[in-house]
């Protein structure tokens, strides 16, 4: 029974990341594509948030490499940015657990800013040297605005699929 729940849980994680990848490359009009949230990062942060014992740095690294593959960026750009954010998240995960909604909003704002900053720096150094305008930073806001909705939906899905910490 527990085995079955585990595989169910893993399939939900995989499915949600798959959905995030589809959303990440879904064609949108040019204006909307500027506010597109970093879906893959948000789903990653969610899974690390709710199950920090099961999903950690390695998981983030894997997801980052897949993102690099999907977005045709130099291998390591998204991987390095994602593991850094997840590392920070794991360092403070006990404090985050008792954060209020607004504090979480600020936290996602901060993480998104750092993430985009890392991507920008690494892209400038290893990949695409384009100098984007200030619209580049719009996803910081959309990430933070999308986060509570994503959290509510995913959390209810998670409890329906009975996913818990394996040893907690």
């Amino acid at each position: 029974m527990i085995e079955q729940r585990m595989t169910q849980g893993m399939s939900l994680v995989a499915l949600s990341l798959y959905a995030a990848m589809v959303l990440q490359i879904f064609p949108m009009t040019s204006w909307l594509s500027y506010v597109r949230p970093n879906w893959i990062l948000l789903f990653l942060l969610f899974w690390v948030y709710v199950l920090p014992g099961r999903f950690g740095i390695f998981f983030a690294f894997l997801v980052g490499l897949l993102t690099d593959l999907l977005l045709d960026s130099v291998f390591g750009i998204h991987a390095l940015s994602m593991i850094t954010i997840v590392y920070l998240q794991l360092l403070v995960h006990r404090q985050i657990r008792i954060f209020s909604g607004f504090q979480q909003f600020l936290l996602i704002l901060f993480f998104s800013f750092l993430y985009l900053l890392f991507i920008r720096l690494l892209e400038g150094f290893f990949g695409n040297p384009a100098e984007p305008d200030m619209f580049y930073w719009l996803p910081v806001l959309s990430n933070a605005l999308v986060w509570p909705w994503l959290f509510v939906v995913m959390d209810s899905l998670k409890s329906r699929f009975n996913i818990y910490e394996n040893n907690g």
Binding site: Y18, M21, I25, P52, F61, L69, A79, N128, A130
Partner: protein
């Protein structure tokens, strides 16, 4: 509480290892093409994600094309026939010009560069990052597409193929900041490097001295130097020339002629020479202009 948090040192260690591996990947992938092979292998799974993402757009396109009324189709047909006639007339004129051109070139002793064969491809996807100008095309290695193939549309040069998998390929547009190509001014043959800026309707000419004769409204065509692009395809039209006395180089902004953000059907240009096979570099990296 989960075991991993009993000691933060294991977390630190994992993080350190991953950072090192990521940096190694970054250096290797940005300075060599060793990782192109694994990228190619994994790219076979990409349609799993791309197909559902692009399907709604393609479905609506298909519906739009298939649910047109008979009247609109007839009108369109008549319009196209009229256009075809006009084109036909122009081609007749071109035929004699082409013959004349070849004759003159023979007199000059240079080889003729005309009649490239082409392959029609459709743009099925765009890069989701608005600051990276890449397109996904529906033709791949099975259709003979190769890395470095020029992409053109009806009005000008669009870019080149940078990655090929079996049934699709991706192209880098000339406006991407990673792209540069050699161009010449039609009016007087002045050569320059047109560098992408990351803005969809802007190219900039790098390292052009203040005194060079380039004016607004000048048309630029590919110069064929470097062997990547065939000579003579229109690239852009000069939009702005800023010459400042204190500066070493003029600042020249060019508007691309190809409809980079509107074309749906594009042409991939083959060249009979096997010369292009030898080109293995991913893109022609050009230093951006500094002043």
């Amino acid at each position: 509480m989960a075991s991993i948090f009993a000691n933060d040192s294991s977390l630190n260690r994992t993080f350190a290892i991953c950072v090192v591996v990521a940096f190694v990947l970054l250096f290797v992938d940005s300075s060599s093409n060793w990782l192109q092979k694994p990228r190619l292998v994994f790219s076979y799974t990409k349609p799993l994600v791309e197909y559902p993402a692009f399907a709604p757009g393609q479905l609506s396109e298909w519906l739009g094309e298939n649910l047109k009324s008979r009247k609109t189709l007839l009108e369109e047909n008549a319009e196209l026939r009229e256009q075809a006639q006009i084109m036909q007339r122009r081609i007749q004129k071109f035929a004699s010009l082409t013959a004349e051109n070849i004759r003159l070139k023979e007199l000059l002793g240079s080889s003729s560069t005309l009649s490239d064969s082409v392959l029609v491809a459709e743009i099925v996807g765009l890069d989701s990052d608005p600051f990276s100008h890449k397109v996904v095309l529906d033709k791949g290695a099975s259709d003979g597409v190769f890395v470095g193939m020029p992409i053109i549309d009806a009005s000008g040069l669009m870019g080149q193929i940078v990655f090929v998998s079996e049934f699709s390929s991706s192209g880098l547009l000339i406006t991407d900041a990673r792209h540069g190509l050699s161009v010449e001014v039609v009016r007087n043959g002045v050569r320059a490097i047109a560098q992408g800026t990351g803005v969809i309707d802007e190219l900039s000419l790098s390292h052009v001295p203040n005194t060079v004769d380039i004016e607004v409204e000048d048309i630029l065509v590919s110069s064929g130097l470097g062997g990547r692009f065939p000579q003579g395809y229109p690239v852009g039209i000069v939009k702005e020339v800023n010459r400042q006395v204190g500066r070493q180089f003029a600042e020249i902004i060019v508007k691309p002629l190809a409809k980079l953000d509107r074309s749906r059907h594009v042409l991939l240009v083959f060249k009979e020479d096997a010369k292009w096979e030898s080109i293995s570099e991913k893109t022609s990296h050009v230093e951006s202009a500094d002043d």
